[in-house]
């Protein structure tokens, strides 16, 4: 189980509790603004783009090759970017802070 905090494009902080699945699913279930997850988590739509808080980069890990290619062409992309559908919820991520990137 993990508590994950999303900072939305309008500046609101939303903390959700997730047991399993992807971080995108946890965000969609809790209707976090700016995370649409249109493709359901197959890395096709890039509507779940987040910036990982620098303190959490190591634990969250780097994007895979395909995810990196997706992010390269996304607006607002940075070294901290991930697609949250590709981050699995785990106990290790308890306390994670993510900034939602506006579509």
């Amino acid at each position: 189980m993990a508590q994950i905090t999303f900072i939305t494009p309008s500046g609101e902080e939303v903390t959700v509790t997730a047991q399993s699945g992807s971080v995108m699913q946890a965000a969609v279930t809790n209707m976090v603004e700016g995370i649409d997850g249109d493709c359901g988590g197959v890395c096709s739509c890039a509507t779940c783009h987040v910036h990982v808080d620098p303190a959490w980069l190591d634990k969250v890990g780097a994007a895979g090759d395909i995810e990196k290619e997706m992010l390269e062409l996304e607006d607002g992309s940075s070294d901290h970017s991930r697609l949250s559908c590709q981050i699995e919820v785990s106990d290790e991520l308890d306390g994670l802070v993510l900034r939602v990137v506006k579509n």
Binding site: G40, G41, V42, C43, S44, C45, Q86
Partner: protein
């Protein structure tokens, strides 16, 4: 299923990366590789959509008189135009809307099961698409009878077809009706909308509505028909969806990848361009080939294989970048609901007879769907 059934561009993609399409006097290089297609879709300065009638191929000067919106415009104007209709196209993510689509698909499955057989193209996919569209537009569901009466060739490139005029007449009438009695429908929203501090012109409103009919009709019909034929021909896939209903989401994305209902779209190069040695003169066109990108073996392992659990699956069947398909939530909802309900309701799908439809441009030929698909839906 034979290998490469879906991949009409394999040789040209591997060897050259582009393929010259001849359309009348025009030569349109199709961009074939995944990375090239995505980069071109992002690079609107070079590959522009600010070109009325010229985003579709062949171009549609003879078919319509208005610029389709928001597809035939570039950033930054595109963003404000798109925002006007975006809320309507996001409706398929609303639980109440989802319930309506579920009920609609149940009704169509009831009928399909009750009958000995039916033509899935004209008696299942077409009415399902038409009724779903009334929900999206927010108009009475009986308007679907009119959409269905236009036949399955509405807005195809056939100057002899009268359906374009019928569609335009419908749009005009709905805009007038909405002006007199505003409601919760898309036409009322277009009448009320503001763009750069002014109301939309009549042409702009028609341009929005025209795209809704043009973009969401054959694409969804072909997607549904192709997928049902595949499930009838591949019983193991059908059984797997029954045993593993969680696969519905990834299966939906995989079917849209392999069937890529829209093969490619055009872009105009105002300053000219060059793609793998294929030159595009200023103001000529290139094509972004979604189907070929979706078959790129450097991105998709065994691309011609349908893998219901394919992840990641970064397909571009709904386009890529700023112009990505507005109707994608509707298409996804219809397919996800169908793939959920079908194995629950139907024990066997069988094809009795079919007439495939093809796109044939000489340099490539692909099956894009079925003109007729007679099938048996055997209930549990």
């Amino acid at each position: 299923m034979a290998e490469n059934t879906f991949d009409a561009f394999q040789k040209a993609r591997r060897e050259e990366g582009a393929l010259d399409l001849k359309v009348g006097d025009e030569t349109i290089p199709l961009i074939l590789r995944f990375h090239d297609v995505r980069k071109a879709a992002k690079n609107w300065q070079t590959y522009s959509s600010d070109a009325p009638f010229r985003v579709p191929v062949p171009s549609q000067e003879d078919l319509r008189s208005v610029r389709q919106l928001p597809i035939e415009v570039d950033p930054p104007q595109h963003k404000e135009y798109r925002a006007i209709v975006e809320p309507f196209f996001r409706r398929p993510t609303d639980p109440a809307y989802i319930a309506k689509i579920e009920a609609l698909i149940d009704q169509h499955l009831d009928e399909a099961i009750a009958r000995d057989s039916l033509d899935v193209a004209n008696e299942f996919a077409l009415p399902l698409q038409s009724k779903s569209l009334t929900l999206l537009l927010g108009v009475p569901i009986d308007h679907a009878d009119l959409f269905i009466s236009w036949g399955n060739d509405v807005l195809r490139v056939d100057p002899a077809s009268a359906s374009e005029e019928l569609c335009d007449a419908y749009i005009e009438k709905q805009l007038d009706n909405a002006a007199e009695n505003p409601g919760d429908d898309m036409f009322s929203a277009l009448n009320a909308a503001q763009y750069q501090g002014r109301h939309l012109t009549r042409e702009e409103k028609i341009g929005f509505a025209n795209l809704v009919f043009a973009g969401g009709r054959d694409t969804i019909i072909n997607f549904v028909t192709h997928t049902l034929a595949y499930l009838a021909q591949n019983r193991d896939a059908f059984e797997r969806l029954r045993d593993e209903p969680d696969l519905v989401t990834s299966a939906t994305e995989e079917f849209v990848r392999v069937f890529s209902p829209l093969t490619f779209l055009g872009r105009v190069c105002p300053h000219g361009a060059e793609i793998h040695g294929h030159k595009i003169a200023p103001n000529d066109r290139a094509g972004l080939c979604w189907l070929s990108a979706n078959m790129d073996e450097t991105v998709f392992k065994e691309p011609e294989q349908v893998k219901l659990d394919r992840r990641p699956n970064p397909h571009v069947a709904f386009g890529s970048g700023t112009h990505n398909c507005l109707g994608a939530p509707q298409a996804r909802l219809i397919m996800r609901t169908l793939l959920t309900k079908l194995p629950q309701r139907v024990s066997e799908l069988r094809i009795l007879d079919s007439v495939a439809s093809f796109e044939d441009w000489k340099v490539y030929r692909r099956q894009n769907g079925y003109k007729r698909l007679d099938m048996v839906f055997k209930g549990h």
